[in-house]
Symmetry: C2
Subunit: 402 residues, 2 copies
Amino acid sequence: MYEILIEGNVCSPQGFQANGVRSGIKESGKPDLAMLFSEKPARCFGVFTQNNVQAAPVILDREILEQNTKIHGVIVNSGNANACTGAQGMQNAQEMVKLAEKETKSDAGSFLVCSTGIIGHQLPMEKIRQHTPELVPSLSERGGHHFAEAIMTTDTRSKHIGAAVATAHGVVKIGGASKGSGMIHPNMATMLAFVSTDIALPDDFQEIYQELIEASFNSITVDGDQSTNDTSLLFANGASGIAYADLNEQEKQQFVQALGEVLQILARKIIEDGEGATKLVTFQVEQARTREEARSVARFVANSKLVKTAVFGEDPNWGRLLSAAGSSGVKVKADAIDIYIGEHQVVLGGCGTGIDEDVLRKIVCLPEYTIRIVLGLGKEEARVWASDLSYEYVRINAEYTT
Amino acid sequence: MYEILIEGNVCSPQGFQANGVRSGIKESGKPDLAMLFSEKPARCFGVFTQNNVQAAPVILDREILEQNTKIHGVIVNSGNANACTGAQGMQNAQEMVKLAEKETKSDAGSFLVCSTGIIGHQLPMEKIRQHTPELVPSLSERGGHHFAEAIMTTDTRSKHIGAAVATAHGVVKIGGASKGSGMIHPNMATMLAFVSTDIALPDDFQEIYQELIEASFNSITVDGDQSTNDTSLLFANGASGIAYADLNEQEKQQFVQALGEVLQILARKIIEDGEGATKLVTFQVEQARTREEARSVARFVANSKLVKTAVFGEDPNWGRLLSAAGSSGVKVKADAIDIYIGEHQVVLGGCGTGIDEDVLRKIVCLPEYTIRIVLGLGKEEARVWASDLSYEYVRINAEYTT
């Protein structure tokens, strides 16, 4: 049994404190320096961008987690991604970690750092040096919302959620915050997600976490590109006194399901907040040989410019869906493919069903709907959530100047 | 020595006849039924779409060429792609071949068929049956331009070119026509290319032809998707009395170079004709480990929506270029990457060079320019030509209704 906590945030689980302040990195003067902290070091699991061009904080966090996975917290700045900044950028990331460790009186190697914002500019370190000392004293169990706000770049609203899982040993909580500019800002297309929980998790939970990230943050698509900074961190501090190992199979399953739902909600909030996005379409690929193939097809179709413009234009264009499914690189069989828009079958065995387009138009005019592509090859499936490709998308991305 | 013949077309080489007529498949009443014919059967080489969803004529042509590569010609219709049309579609494609063979008094299995146009509708066979007999009597050595016109869908101009190669044995000619709607029409995004030559070519020329297609038609990108109908056919009828085998190494090289240039010109004409396209950018990737990796990076960057909108917005946004290069799936090293916009180096070893943006803006405001991405990993390179992502692109693709 678990319930979703709408007002939940990174401080919902026991033993976590957070904060967010204005340091002046953002010209807008909005909050841009944040911290999540656990007195008791938490087992930390990280999943990072697959981009071969990685920002300094991503490189550094990987290194830190290779040495030590007992982590007190993370310091985050928005407004500057510290990406493509060379040796100076790495020094600055290291200094941010040291500042956080010093102010929180934590051991060396027990803090992580994330940055999001413009690429190719050095961090204004004097501002970070000046404001980190004021970030720490006001860390609070009520600071989760401040944290979620201070990590925003061009997000129009902060993104947070929580969950409570009932077990025989008591309640375990999960809290999370995410930021993602989605379509909004081209050089700031970083996705960050921070999830806290007061359960104690074993080392081999990494694999489960990775799989949950695949089904959430790696299953949303706006641009098709991965940014230089994408980072997702899970902190499990065990402050509830309950360990994952103590749970029975059903409880474990419940916890994993709750964590997965928290991650999916945080991911979908990014898509929903994409400026220029007028639709949220779920692309569900079924009967694939493997889950990877299902994902490849779903991602390719969801990223197709022709599909995305058809979604924007409210055009039930099954020809583009079928052609994109064939073009994904996965060996599909055209005459085995069925496609559904909402409830309505539009393709049967690779041919159009001739369904009345007025019926379909009622579906594609909705703000949210599902497209199912049934490959007829196996038993695996995957879902990808995507936004559309609108005039607004082009305007925002074309008008932005470096 | 070779020269490009601006007014060249599929009838420039000896022994080829062509024609194009109005059959009424297109509602506009424009020419939509075409034929290319060689009295002497030609060695035919085909390269087809890699899409797993293939139109009936693509499936049929592959089958025909597996049985017999001595081909008299091809019958082409525009206005209807005969794709996703099931068993009836295959019967119709077969009937088109038979009609062409009957009217030209050619042997069974010596004709090919291509279709381009809307997906998911059966061909109006009665129109094709009625008009094929009038297509054939008026086949002519001066029909190359009619052919190029009748294969157009939403192309705004017909695309043709030729070349003449001087050899010690005499002159060999090459002629070609292409059509591609590029961004223009989503359900008609078929690329067709037909090239004729009066040299005799050996069977093992397929490999060279394939490589030339890679460097031309497979190196242009508008949408990133491959259509269900993409087809490129090369007909070598030997009517000049000259065989490729007779040429010396230098002459062979000249012929291949001329053929390559003809294919590249035909490919670039497709990009230039893309409605909504305001730019033609050459993405040149250098110092890759392999040519395939160079191509993967070039294609990924050229297809990136963030890069394409920056090109449209005349924004010299090197951060997006670097991030896209890292995101392509090829294992690049960020700190080894240099990037040039026009002559100007914008990235050195993965960091911005801090070059004055006004200097760059002069380049990115040009209708055509080159972006070079130097990976520092090896010696291979590849080029991709791409258009931008404009409001007009979204309008055309969103407003189209099935």
